[in-house]
Symmetry: C2
Subunit: 114 residues, 2 copies
DNA sequence: TCAGTGTATAAGTATATGCTTATATTTGCA
DNA sequence: TGCAAATATAAGCATATACTTATACACTGA
């Protein structure tokens, strides 16, 4: 229940980014931890360039962070972003995307490199 | 702290509508009660058709309700809409728009017809 | 019934958006 | 060193969006 008052412009910018089914699903998936690009491609059933472009928008806005691990690039939520509290509230009110990752795991397609 | 789980599609649709500075300001103004179209035109400093078109989008999505009072049409938040809890959380995290209505009142432009 | 005020709609236009295909870049490994 | 895999970027294109101006509609009051 944070009361981090941000500007209306910042809020609108974040909401616009999250007001897209693909990107909202992406942040929904990241709620449970980091994911790499190829996992998004599998789950979203979209082309790799399209996924990459959505991730870039989220990253440019600072909503997600990226981290390279070998040949993979992992994305995660940027919990220190000004609008993260809003995003968190939104994620609490939409269906959990966890099952999609579980299905991916069962198909042996989950990337783990620790 | 409702836990009204809505579909991801519905959430995305609402967020897309609120992801616009004009429309976010409109719902921000409605947080404190109903407003008529000409008040939005004054506060937002936009053309009447433009305001009308934004209101129509919000109304078509069910986020706001309209009520005619004589020659004026008043809009208010639709608190029974499925995505209202999300909207409420968002409104709690952006600056209050009340001052703009107070300024309008001081300029003698606030419409009251009860 | 007619003029004035408030609001909605229609049509046109410039820009934004989200995809596609093609190609570049980075890294791992034989 | 060279090829394959993972990711990013570029360019092109169709559709969506948000404004504009012009006009239609609804209600009020003389």
């Amino acid at each position: 229940m944070e009361k981090t008052i941000i500007t209306l412009e910042e809020a609108a910018k974040t909401l616009k980014l999250l007001g897209d089914k693909t990107r909202l699903t992406i942040v929904g998936l990241l709620k449970d931890g980091e994911c790499c690009v190829c996992e998004f491609v599998d789950v979203l059933e979209m082309s790799q360039p399209s996924v990459s472009q959505h991730l870039r928008k989220l990253r440019d806005a600072g909503l997600v962070k990226e981290k390279r691990k070998g040949q993979w690039v992992f994305y995660s939520l940027n919990t220190s972003h000004e609008t993260y509290p809003i995003m968190e509230e939104i994620l609490n009110q939409i269906p959990d995307q966890k099952e999609k990752l579980i299905a991916l795991d069962k198909a042996g397609k989950r990337i783990q490199c620790d």
